[in-house]
Amino acid sequence: MRKTLTIIGTTLSALHGVAHGSDNADKASLATLALQDSDYATTLAAPLNLNVRNMYASHSSHSSHASHASHSSGSGTSYGYTPAYTPTYAPPPQSTAPQGSGAAATGVPLISPTKSRPSIDQLQLMIMRVQAALYARGYDPGAIDGEMSAKTKEALRLFQTARGLPANAKMTTETLNALGVALTP
């Protein structure tokens, strides 16, 4: 892909060069270098959250979950956050192929979530991350506290509008991609 672009760019600039008549040789050698460089180029093609199911997308209001009734919000002395991550390194199995060759190409989801609905802690953490991302981009989501407050929703709507996304104040995968928020771990 990168190569094709380089070739197109080169052809265009070569045409341009004909008009000027001068330093064509320079351009040709630059083009050759660019082409050779493309062997070493890395291409960031995939969006952040590809083939990952988004269990947060349908969440619109913090109070809409019955399970939240008992949750005392705001004061938050302890988080009870459970890490989904194991820091110790385990040697990979011998047969592992380099990424990008198998699952991604055939469109099979890479990660299949075990639950379709997030736990309270997971949801709260995700909202906090969205709030932090909005805040870091100059929006005002109110306190970064894991509550889907009116202010947070307003900030989400403003962000979505600015990005040309449906302004539904929901944590859709497109919105999370645009915010740089990953669905995993």
Partner: protein, 395 residues
């Protein structure tokens, strides 16, 4: 020059952890778990974001004011001027000696994975003299580090010592990079001798999407190469290793350090490479780094780059006319003929790179790689001079 290690103040740390520095964006992204990150309380945005974030299970906090760190939680304070540590960087903390070392710098042009201090060669100009130590612990350490490196890091250099001495463990590291950093180019600096007998090159076949090997070759004759690397039999092992790597479909760069005996036969070496190793993707002709063994062997090694100009021009023209990519590293532009400027790269790692007072007036300073921070006068050139603007207008 920026130091990569420094004394720091730290408290409450249980072990020797590797930690990634987090700002709001790193928290929001959720790519790295808070348990492996240091929240940067020096950052104004982080401080103004409220206290709920601080209650997350961060490994600890980075701060200028220890009182800002939440009570009974681990923290690090970096004294002013010790070293620059920023959001996205990875730092290794050694609490028992109150030392910290930067292991990954976001945005740096040369981040390395240091595999071992051991080496099977003993090169005259070695910048990193080998030590016969058992440092196998580095393998799991590197795998931990790889997990904390930015996913969009453009490239990493695997170096040492001699990385292939790790044998199967080098494969493990490359595979882990392919899994965790599939978009990051990996450049392994090896003498290739192990692939000439010992370990099979094909164990790297198809392992990583962007893997290249940088293999030094110092002569068109075994006597010269073996002398420079101070190891009998090295030439034949490296040559066989190069063919083995080619057979395993690996991308190869030949690296030539421009020390006196090598420069004397540089055109012959170029011809040897073209005739016998036409498959190499790139030839790098590199100025000597004036540190390590090189300093002790100044008289045997040093050639002023000005005096190399004719042979460099001949060599570069020979290779490039035959469609072999060639680059010049570690040589300031003002000592090179203008014809060679386009082959020159800004190759010196940012943290150990500097300019000289004469460079302040130079019109092409931005294009020039400058000098190693440890270059003394006798390691620069007698013809260092600012290049005037008029010259540069042609480019």
């Amino acid at each position: 020059m920026q130091p990569l290690e420094a004394k720091v103040h730290c408290e409450q740390w249980p072990a020797s952890p590797l930690l990634k520095v987090a700002g709001l964006a790193e928290f929001a992204a959720g790519i790295f778990p808070p348990e492996r990150m240091l929240l940067d309380l020096r950052d104004a945005q982080v401080r103004s974001a409220g206290s709920a974030i601080c209650r997350l299970p961060w490994a600890g906090f980075l701060t200028d004011v220890p009182e800002h760190a939440p009570l009974d939680r681990p923290w690090i304070a970096v004294p002013p001027g010790a070293f620059k540590i920023g959001i996205g960087d990875v730092v290794e903390l050694r609490p028992h000696t109150s030392k910290a070392a930067l292991r990954y710098r976001r945005g740096s042009n040369n981040n390395i994975l240091f595999t071992t201090e051991r080496c099977n060669s003993y090169c005259l100009m070695c910048s990193q003299p080998p030590r016969e130590v058992d440092d196998g612990w580095r393998v799991s350490h590197l795998c931990d580090l790889i997990e904390l490196i930015d996913k969009n890091a453009p490239s990493l250099t695997v170096t040492g010592g001699e990385p292939t001495l790790l044998k199967e463990n080098l494969r493990r590291i490359v595979l882990h990079c392919a899994d965790v950093l599939p978009q990051t180019h990996l450049h392994v600096l090896s003498n290739g001798r192990a692939f000439g007998g010992g370990i099979p090159a094909h164990m790297f076949e198809g392992l990583h999407p962007f893997l290249t090997w940088g293999i030094p070759l110092y002569g068109d004759h075994y006597g010269l190469h073996d002398y420079v690397v101070q190891s009998a039999g090295a030439f034949s092992q490296t040559i066989r290793g190069l063919y083995a790597l080619e057979a395993a479909k690996q991308q190869i760069e030949i690296r030539v350090v421009l020390v006196k005996p090598v420069v004397e036969r540089l055109t012959e070496l170029a011809r040897f490479i073209y005739r016998n190793l036409p498959f190499v993707k790139h030839v790098a002709l590199m100025g000597t780094e004036p540190i390590g063994f090189a300093r002790a062997h100044y008289d045997d090694l040093w050639v002023d780059p000005t005096d190399m100009a004719p042979v460099l021009t001949k060599t570069v023209d020979f290779l490039s006319k035959r469609s072999m990519r060639v680059s010049l590293y570690n040589l300031p532009l003002c000592v090179l003929p203008e014809h060679l400027w386009s082959y020159s790269s800004k190759s010196i790692s940012d943290w150990k790179q500097q300019y000289l007072p004469a460079c302040e007036q130079c019109a092409i300073k931005e294009r020039c790689g400058g000098f190693f921070a440890w270059a003394t006068d006798k390691w620069t050139s007698r013809t260092i001079k600012p290049v005037r603007g008029a010259l540069c207008a042609k480019h």
